[in-house]
Amino acid sequence: MIYKTFHIKTLFYLLPAVFIFLTFNVIPGLTSLVLSFFDFSGFETNLFRKFVGIDNFIKIYEDKYFWIALKNTFLFVFGAVFIQTGIALVLSIFIFFGNFKFSVLVRSIIFFPCVLAPVSVGLVWKKILEQDGVLNSILGLDYSYLSSVSLVMWLIIMVNTWQWIGYNLVIYYAGLQSMNIELLEASDIDGANWSQKIFSIIIPLLWPTTILNMILNLIGGFRAFDIVYVLTRGGPAHYSEVLASYLYYYSFSAGGPNKMGVGAAVAFVIFACILTIAVARIIISKKIRREN
C-alpha cells in the first residue's frame, strides 16, 4: 500500500471508471427494477407517470408465451451447462492424450467459431437448416427444421454449442496442461488402462475446470439473444422465444406490443435468476472453503 489511509488523489484514478460504471451499468440496472412497476411505451418522455404496481408481472404471469420463454431459457442453459461442457470434456481429453500430429491446428479449427459474431453463425446455419437447405439434400428429406415446435429449441442449442465448444475446449486444455501428472504416472505403473485413467483420474482431477466451464456457460446461456434473433426471431409462433428475445419483442420489436414496462418486468425476472445463481455460488464456495 502506498497510502495507509484514504487519500484524495485516489479519486483521480478511480472516478472516471466508477462514474461510467455507475451511470451506464448500476443506475440503469436499478432503474430497470423500478420501471417494471410502471406502464410506458417507447414514445413517452416521463416514464414514471403511470404507476401500475405488479400489473406487469401479472401480465407476464398470465401470458403463456412468457412461460415458454422461461422454459426455453432454462433448456438453453441446461444445454450449455451440461451437453456443451460434457462434449468439450471428452474432446479435450481425446485431443490431449490422442497424440495428434497437428493438435494445435485441431484446437484452432474447433476454436475458430468463438471469434465469429453470433449473428454470422446464426445466418450460416439458417441456410443449412431451411427447407431447401443442404441438410435436407444430404439426408434426402424434405423437412422444415426451424418451424418444428419440438425441434427448434434443440437446434438453437446445437448451433450455440457448435459456436462455443472450442471455448470450453481450450479452457479444459489449459486445465489438462497444468494437471498434476504424478497420479497418472503411478497408475501407469499399476497397469491401469486408458478408460480407467480417464474415469478415475483425469475427470476427477479436472473437476475445478469443469465447474469453471459450467459457470461460464451458465452466464453465457442467459445472454443468448443474437442467435435466436437471426435463426427464428422467436418463432414459430413464439415457441423458440427465450427471456431476452421475449423482452425485445415486448419492448422494441417493430410489430410487437411496444409495452416497455412489461419488458422491464422480464428484465426483473432475468435479474432475479442471475442473482439467485450468484448468491448460491457464493454460499457454495464459502461452504467448500470452510470444509477444507
Binding site: I2, K4, F6, K9, F12, L14, A17, V18, I20, F21, T23, F24, N25, I27, P28, G29, F94, F96, F97, G98, N99, I110, F111, V115, L116, A117, P118, V119, S120, G122, L123, V124, K127, I128, S137, W162, G166, Y167, V170, I181, D188, N193, I215, L216, I219, R223, F225, D226, Y229, V230, R233, L243, L247, F252, M260, G263, A267, I270, F271, L275
Partner: protein, 295 residues
Amino acid sequence: METNKINNYGASFKRSPVFYVITRIVVLFFIIIIIFPLLYTLSLSVRSPETVYSARYFLIPYEFSFANYIDAFVNAEQKLKVSFPRMFINSAVVTSLSVTLIISMSIFAAFAFSHLRFPLKESLYNVMIASVAMPAQVLLIPLFYILIYLGIINTYQAVILAYAGFLIPIGILILRMFYEQIPYELTEAGTVDGASDLQLLMKVLLPLAKPAIATCVILLFLDTWNEFIYAMIFMQDPTIHTVPVGLAKIGTSRYQVNIGTYSASVMITIIPVMIIFAVFQRWFIAGMTMGALKH
C-alpha cells in the same frame, strides 16, 4: 515439448489401439462438423447464379463466379442504405474507441483497487464482479432512455458509452488481479526511491502488465466487434449500422435476397475475422483462456 510430456505418462493411451481409433473418429467428426457449415457458405457464395442450387458433393461448385460478392455490395448499398465498407468503418470506430476508453480507464481504476485505499473498496469491487454475470438485456430499456436524455441516441457515443459501462468491470477485474501478482518488493523499492504513485503505475506496473492489457484488448475487441443488441437498438440510423446489425438486416429481411447474395454477405463478415484469427490465433486462444480463468 508438449508431446514429450504426454509421452511420459501416456503409456496406456499409446498402447491401446481402441483409444487410438476412437480419438481419430471422434476428433475427425467434430472437425468436419465445425468446418462444413463454413465451407458450405463459402461454396454457395462463389457459385454462379445459374448453378447455385447444385454442387459436386454439396461443396464443389460447377461454375465459379464472384458475381454474388458484387451483388452483395450493391444489395447492401441500395436496400440498407449502408455499404459494407461503411459498416466496417462504423464497427472499427465503435470498437477501437470503446476498447481504448475502457482500457485507459481500467488501467487507473485497477491500480486504485490493487494498491490504494478508499472507503467501500471491496463492496464496490463485489458489485463489479456481480455485474459481469448480468446479461446486457437487463440494462436495455433504461439505457435506451438515458441515451435519449443525453441526446446521444443514434450516434457512435451512445454505443461506446453503453459498452464502456458494461465492460469496464472486465478490464478492472483482469488488471487488478495482474497488478496484485506483481511482487510487492518491486513497488516497495519504487516507494523507497521516492517514486510517486503515478510514476509507480506508469514505470513499474504498466510495463509488466503488457500481457494483461493484451488479454483485455482481445476480450474487449471480440465483445464489442460482435455485439448486436445494443448496436441494433441504440444506433437505428442505417448509416451508422455496425457489421452484425447490417448483416442481420440482410439475413432476416422480409424481402428475400437470393441465396448466393446472402451467402456472399455472410462471408464478407467472416473472411476478415478469419484472416485476423489466422495471424493472431495464439493470442486469441491464450487471451480468451486467460480471461476465463480470471473468473
